[in-house]
């Protein structure tokens, strides 16, 4: 029920302007609909649709607001507009700043609610307009001169006028289906055309970095001229050696003279004619050969264009195609220096700058790529890889095998490809690999296992010795044993006075005697002495097997005292 009521109310509200305009005296004006902003270059246009078709004498007004403003301001050029669009190009806007617009319908004192347009940044919304093109014909080429889109004092592209690149579509007037597209500079030449032919073309500007593509210019047509007697030189090439540049070209006929000129490439980015900015290359004037050599010092670091012209005295050819030439690219790249280091089953490769890098090498400025050739010393199979890094690893190699590496540096930059010579070949043997490692582990384990009995044996021996020394197992002769009191034994072990050592000496002999006694049956007295001192009796008895049996006890006694 409620929903129904709501729906009815909505219908009433929505229907009001149509149903009740006259009756209500136009109090309920409807806001404009489908409001759109169109910006092409520096022209700003706002378009909309009337909210209510039937009303007459309705005007529209627009307000704008930019971030610095607290309030809405009337948009100049868009006040009390009777049509459904207005031009507000006259407003001096910061095109990089956000802009807010709102529009309403008005009739007499009545106004509709404001309709607010989503805020936008004019620069983002702007469409690149068609560029203006000026053409000049040669026999096999068309010279093109493009003015950037927008007016000269325009604000929209003021900061981008040298960033434009131009896409061009050209076709023979007779066969419009065969189109050719090219990307050109504001001042450029279209080559490889036929003489005495009508060509048509259209151009659109592009801001590559902003990904903005402009509108096509109108179609321009032009006739190429009659073929010139002398063709322009072809295949311009420039190479550098140590101190010089060598400029070469091809030419059909002989006995002509040539001259070569250069231009700063940056000028091509700047709209306008630069025909007078070409300069003569010093040693390439009136040369009779199809090449000329000039010192590198002629060009400082930078990008240039070079063109060549032929002459036979009476007439001259047109200029050749312009060859783009980057001094850096011409510089010879020296071969890199390689170092190898075996690590486990891998070989680590370090690519270093050439030794003579002081000598104006390009390495500092260019991202070099390295082509590395890698092979097993004994095999002929060579692997080629391309690496950006100067430090990398070849993995999973055979252990204890000699591998060889050589490398060269490459530059990949746009259309230029340049490479250094190959470095010296460096070979290195890999370390014992994983398989021998396991062997080693096994060996170690075996060794450990084998050594256990040995260790056990050694420990046993040591223990026995210890036992032998401190806890003698060998018992003195039973006769001696009788006198062996514990008290005496303690004394012997704990006190180490000189007296006792002396006694020891005696005991040595008594031992001997003891040994004798064993055979000869001696008195109780002897036994006493013996028992007083001897724990090492066993040893001594061995040493002195046949010590004199005739040694008297008295003598012994005296010595002790």
């Amino acid at each position: 029920m409620l929903a129904l009521l709501g729906a009815m109310a909505l219908v009433l509200v929505a229907g009001a302007p149509w149903v009740l305009p006259a009756a209500a005296g136009g109090t309920n004006l409807e806001s404009p609909r489908d409001v759109e902003v169109y910006i092409v270059d520096d022209s700003f246009i706002l378009k909309w649709n009337r909210g209510s078709e039937s009303l007459s004498n309705v005007t529209f007004s627009v307000d704008y607001q930019i971030p610095e403003m607290d309030d809405w301001t009337e948009l100049p050029g868009c006040q009390y507009i009777t049509s459904t669009q207005c031009d507000f190009s006259s407003l001096q806007l910061n095109v990089y700043d956000e802009l807010k617009l709102r529009i309403r319908a008005e009739k007499g004192n009545n106004t509709s609610p404001w309709y607010e347009v989503d805020s936008f940044i004019p620069f983002h919304k702007a469409q690149i307009g068609p560029p203006e093109v000026h053409l000049e014909a040669e026999d096999k080429a068309i010279i093109i001169n493009i003015s950037p889109p927008g007016t000269k004092d325009g604000v929209m592209w003021a900061m981008d006028s040298s960033s434009f690149i131009y896409n061009l579509v050209i076709w023979k007037n007779s066969s419009p289906a065969e189109e050719r597209t090219e990307t050109v500079y504001p001042t450029d030449k279209i080559y490889k055309l036929s003489p005495e032919t009508t060509y048509c073309l259209k151009v659109k500007a592009r801001l590559r970095m902003q990904r903005k593509v402009g509108l096509y210019s109108p179609v321009y047509c032009i006739n190429t001229t009659v073929e010139n007697k002398l063709p322009p030189p072809e295949n311009i090439q420039i190479d550098g050696n140590n101190q010089n540049y060598i400029l070469k070209w091809d030419y059909k006929y002989e006995n002509l003279t040539f001259q070569a000129q250069w231009l700063h490439a940056y000028l091509k980015k700047i709209p306008g004619k630069h025909a007078d900015k070409w300069k003569q290359i010093p040693d390439c004037e009136n040369v009779k050969t199809t090449q000329c050599v000039f010192p590198q010092s002629v060009f400082s670091r930078g990008i240039y264009f070079i063109r060549v012209q032929a002459s036979n005295g009476n007439s001259t050819s047109l200029w050749s195609e312009e060859k783009k030439f980057d001094t850096e690219i011409q510089t010879i790249i020296l071969p890199p220096v390689i170092n190898l280091k075996p690590v486990n089953d891998s070989l680590r490769v370090y690519i270093g700058a050439p030794k003579e890098s002081e000598n104006k090498s390009v390495d500092e400025d260019y991202p070099l790529i390295y082509e590395i050739i890698f092979w097993e010393n004994t095999s002929n199979i060579q692997n080629k890889i391309v690496e950006k890094k100067t430090d990398f690893t070849f993995r999973n190699l055979k252990p204890l095998t000699v591998y060889c590496v050589r490398a060269r540096a490459l530059i990949h930059y746009e259309k230029w490809n340049k490479s250094s010579g190959f470095s010296d070949t460096v070979c290195e043997k890999t370390k014992p690999g994983n398989t021998s490692k396991t062997l080693l582990i096994i060996a170690v384990i075996c060794a450990v296992l084998l050594s256990i009995p040995v260790v056990v044996y050694v420990v046993k021996v040591v223990l026995r010795c210890v036992k032998y020394v401190f806890f003698p197992s060998s018992k003195p002769p039973s006769a001696v044993d009788e006198c062996f009191s514990e008290h005496l034994l303690k004394n012997l072990l704990l006190s180490t006075s000189a007296e006792q050592i002396e006694r020891c000496f005696i005991i040595e002999n008594t031992n001997a005697i003891a040994a004798v006694e064993e055979t000869n049956d001696v008195d109780e007295d002897y036994k006493k002495y013996n028992s007083q001192t001897s724990q090492d009796s066993g040893n001594y008895s061995n040493e002195e097997d046949n010590s004199g049996s005739g040694i008297s006890e008295e003598l012994l006694l005296q010595e002790t005292l």
């Binding site: 983002h124 590559r208 940056y266 670091r301 990008i303």
Partner: protein, 193 residues
């Protein structure tokens, strides 16, 4: 004197920003060189002409905070770098009489800038091919444009007086130091990835 120095510094900075190579070491080397050079410059700046021009100073609001090199990805940083160099190129290529600037210096400067721009464009082109990650860099470019708009407006307002140019030179120097920081950041990122 300053003018010559200025160009030297600028050239060094430009040369250094051409390193998108993978060699961090080289970048650090260049960084040291730049530090040294900029110190030299600061010493040279104590000249009368700078002092005369002090009343003309203006804050051009270099967008270094909003274009913080540490915040953005490689694509963004490249866009900022490109836009800055492009705008510097625009600033100096215009046939505005540059008071006291030798034509040859200006030429050399433009050559360097142009070469740098070419490399950058090739690089950005490559990046864009690899991934369409230039989103968000548009607003950064706008910030740079607005900054240079302020500089241009200032020059116009000051009728391209020699003092105005001196102030702008100092500002561009500042801007290039920022560019250099950006380059440093880029180089480290380059080696990381």
């Amino acid at each position: 004197m300053i003018k010559k120095q200025f160009f030297e510094i600028v050239l060094v900075l430009l040369a250094s920003s051409s390193i998108f190579s993978l060699e961090l070491k080289l970048v650090l080397f260049q960084q040291r060189r730049v530090n040294r050079e900029s110190l030299k410059l600061l010493n040279k700046l104590q000249t009368s002409s700078i002092q005369q021009c002090l009343p003309h100073r203006k804050n051009f609001l270099l967008p270094q905070k909003s274009v913080n090199p540490h915040q953005y990805q490689k694509g963004h940083a490249l866009a900022v770098l490109h836009e800055m160099l492009q705008q510097i190129f625009n600033l100096f290529r215009a046939n505005i009489p540059l008071d006291g600037w030798e034509e040859s210096h200006k030429e050399k400067f433009l050559i360097e800038l142009h070469q740098q721009l070419e490399y950058l464009e090739a690089l950005i082109g490559l990046e864009a091919e690899q991934k369409s990650g230039t989103l968000g860099s548009e607003n950064l470019r706008l910030q740079v444009k607005m900054y240079f708009r302020r500089i241009l407006d200032y020059l116009e307002y000051q009728e391209y007086s020699s003092c105005a140019w001196t102030i702008v030179q100092v500002e561009i120097n500042r801007c290039l130091l920022f560019v250099f920081r950006l380059t440093g950041k880029l180089s480290t990122q380059g080696t990381d990835s």
